[in-house]
Amino acid sequence: MRITYVLLLLAAIGCEYEHVDPCETRYLENNYLEIASFLDSTDGRFTMVNGNGRVENVRVYREIGSTYVPGSTECWSYRGDQSRLVVYASQFDFGFQCYFSPSINGEILLFEQRINNGGNLEFKYLLGADSLLENHYQTYSNGKPIYVYPNELSVEIIDTLTTSMRPFYGVKIYKNSIKGIPMIPNRSVASLVIDDKFGVIQFTTKSEEIWDVIYE
């Protein structure tokens, strides 16, 4: 009885006991976890070459981490492994990243490019269902956020794509319709080619510079 009083008293003054979650945890599958698995976070210095033959240093690395997805409609907690692939060229202060992240509805590709004038280009694509979830460019004007929504993001499978590295087969190209939008800077990524083994193998900027990433 005394213990009960103490418990009630402690609860009343806000010092709660350790929270016990009544929901179990389900693990979400991740079919894209092996993308770029030959990379690690410390050994990712490669080159990229543009259509004029100019070769530049680029750093490509990936990180793996767990992510929790709260279940809102049923009493389950979800957990899955998320991989993050980063492409960065320090001499240009240019970079972007792709997350392959599990969700209750399937795996999501989240593309993010932060651009040095404060802009942020981002799209979310539900990989298994081939469905676009989000696509926008955000910037600021007089301290207020401004959003621009490109009309279309198309995804196609290319049977054979030969880059400066080698031929690739059955790769996916994500093409974002940003070309006609003046607010979006030229250095924004307009298309992205992803191979299931290597990850990002080619990208094209809005100004139509094509860069091949060479993993050698």
Binding site: R2, Y5, V6, L9, L10, I13, G14, C15, T47, N52, G53, R54, V55, E56, N57, A89, S90, Q91, F92, D93, F94, I115, N116, N117, P185, N186, R187, T205, S207, E209, W211
Partner: protein
Amino acid sequence: MNNLLLTMLAFCGMFHGCESGHEIYIEPECNTLIINTFTHNNSMLTNRHFSLKNDTFELQSSYGEIYNYSSVSQSSESVLEECTETFAHESFSYKTHTDDLAPKISAGLWFRFSDTIAEPVLSLIVGSFLSYTSVNGMSAINDNSAYPTNNKVSFHSSLSVMDTTYNEVYLIEKNDYLEKEIRGIVYSVKQGILGFYRSEEIYWKVL
């Protein structure tokens, strides 16, 4: 009686165990006495980087690509230490912005202090090339503890580089450059950065 004791203990715990304590630091009042103010030589302030004017320019690569830049030039004055007899000194910063996928460019003019001796320093960043130059005598500073470098600076009354002949310029070069890094910067005291190169064939010129 025991219940009363437990209640008292719980309330004591509430006030002592659950509290996160913060000590309040009160800044002592002080007066800063400026005994000298260091300013930069006017000859350095005529070029585009330190003229305090916003600017736009184009950069052309040896591949024929043309990139557009805009820039902001700012100055500030700061003191070496607060609450003591000290020195004020002015700094200039020059930052560029490009929407294109082109090398980043920035510059700075500031002072480094050794005891009471103030040495004006020019810093240039182009791509991954970082350089510090002593404005007195225009020689390379390579002993910056946070960012050590290995550069050299030479003056040329006439310099043929990047398919162009430049007059009255300084060449700031890396001694230990790596492949695909910027190796040299052509700098004019009057005009600022005129161009930079990686090799004889690969370069970028300010138009």
